[in-house]
Amino acid sequence: MSKLTGKALDVEIDKLAEQFKDMASKEPHSMAERFMSVVTFQEPDRLPVFMQIHDHSARVAGITVKEMCTDTKKMLYAQLYTSVKYKFDFVSTFADAYNYEAEALGAKMLFPEDSFPVILEPLIKDASDLKKLKVPDFTKAGRGPYVIGGTKLMMEKLGDLGFAACVASAPWSMAIQIRGFNNLVRDTRKNPEFAHKILDFCVDVIEAFTKAQQEALGGAPAFASLADAFSCIPPTSPQLVYDFVIPHTAEIIKRLGPMMWAGGFPIEKVPNWKQIMEDVVVKTGSLVGMVVMLESDWLPPEEIKEMSQRLQKPWFFGVRAGIISKGTPKEIENYVKKLIKVLAPGGGCAVFGDQVPRDTPPENVQALVDSIKKYGKFPISIE
């Protein structure tokens, strides 16, 4: 456990915030400007640098994962520390994004010392349990105050150089957290009406959680996104994506306005993958399309670029997770260079680090950041 507490922690946060602002203020564009340029098919000074790096952040900052997931200030400290260390453009303010809603509803949680929290048992064991659940007040329930406070504190410290991201689970992933994977899949087959009722409730909860985060920022611009790894294929089937995932995701996006949905897409080369990718973005109205890969390069970036331009939908391309954790810095550089050459020209696409594992060598993370900065300068000029 970190000895950094109280006043000493406040001092360190302030020091890191100043370092981040000093670094960011010397750049021609802020993270928000780069992000907005990319999603509106314009060319910023360079591609934004952002990644999902939560438990690795705890490791490099010298705190436990439990501390990061339970203490707002320690979480912000770890994220600032990581952003300053690797020179990211973005300071994340969340950790285990899939648990917040279920926990606020009263799910029993386990908080291991050096691992992400886990839900011990599903809240909805039968139909009567759903009736008992009420949309929580996220300013008070569970770790609502931790999430809301973290984003607010980050924006207070960084001002215009901060980039606020309001993150919630998407309906399908939240439904799995409160009902359990097997139970929900069984419901979709045996009692689809009940499965839809659970998902309807999830939409209400996610709306409340996202609005609570947005309201806490007092109208400051914030980017909202829905985390939905559980809805990717093959963890979920294309049929379930079309019948259960897309309709409820479309509903929450309709209620909350433009937001990014990170789900529903294939992470392996499944039949009809291109049509699925197109449908999940178009049918839900997600602001951005997303793709991540694990071990194999089954998806040519040219296909994503073509789809992005044809549909005029921005797309974020996750650098293959396997190469970040296991490749050499040179391999990472070459890989990123190849992606940027295809994806970046003309705007509309960005590359990012997807789920950087805890034990990733720091030199690999640095290689990823440096490569995006080196090759992502506009106009793109890569031989």
Binding site: P112, T188, P234, S237, P238
Partner: protein, 212 residues
């Protein structure tokens, strides 16, 4: 012409229909078919499920439902088996490592291994090294299988290997690892003998480990 119970059981497992799988197993048991013959039939059904997954006709939810159907049938059959004889390809003690409660993948692996003719002792989730060691001493398996879903619990696989060494059981078993956060490189890091990327691969690896 109505189908025979063995075909109905096979279809129930492939279709992930637990209630029908249970019912048809009862019918087969009442008609005098031996539990081991029923399990062999179920194994063929799980092979078909695996093939559909490899062909991307099936996805994880389909595997989960088929595994549930198979496990429902096994609940009726396992108590009737008596001693574990040479009918089985081998014995495996299986569990999710300490600190981790994600068992969807592990459950699929258990069902596929059972379908492939292995006797599997399923220790469930958040299993301590002590529990693994106690069970190894009691059950005398050829393989210990442990999974880690999250990257932060990979250390637990390493600890399990060390604890098995200290307890003098490591050299008596092959150690198979897997899970969403585990990659082939972890075999060396953890000190395991083998890695499987998914349930289908786990069956082939387990067969190889027992020399089958």
């Amino acid at each position: 012409m109505s189908k025979d119970p063995q075909s109905k059981l096979r279809e129930a497992i492939i279709g992930g229909e637990s209630d029908i799988a249970r019912k048809e197993t009862q019918v087969l048991m009442k008609s005098g078919v031996s539990p081991i013959e029923i399990i062999k039939g179920m194994g063929k059904a799980m092979e078909a499920v695996g093939k559909k997954y490899e062909d991307m006709e099936y996805f994880v939810p389909d595997l989960v439902m088929s595994a549930e159907a198979m496990n429902e049938a096994l609940k009726l059959l396992l108590p009737k088996l008596g001693s574990i004889g040479s009918e089985f390809k081998g014995k495996i003690v299986m569990g999710v490592c300490k600190g981790d409660v994600h068992d969807i993948g592990k459950n699929i692996v258990v069902a596929m291994l059972r379908g492939a003719g292995f006797y599997v002792v399923d220790l469930g989730i958040d299993v301590s090294p002590q529990k693994f060691i106690e069970t190894v001493n009691k059950e005398k398996p050829q393989i210990v299988g442990a999974s880690s879903y999250i990257s932060t619990t990979i250390d637990e696989l390493r600890k399990l290997n060390e604890e098995m060494k200290k307890a003098g059981v490591r050299n008596k078993v092959k150690f198979l690892i897997g899970g969403a956060s585990v990659y082939p490189k972890h075999v060396g890091d953890v000190g395991a003998d083998a890695f499987a990327n998914d349930a289908i691969e786990a069956v082939g690896v387990a067969k190889r480990l027992v020399g089958g």
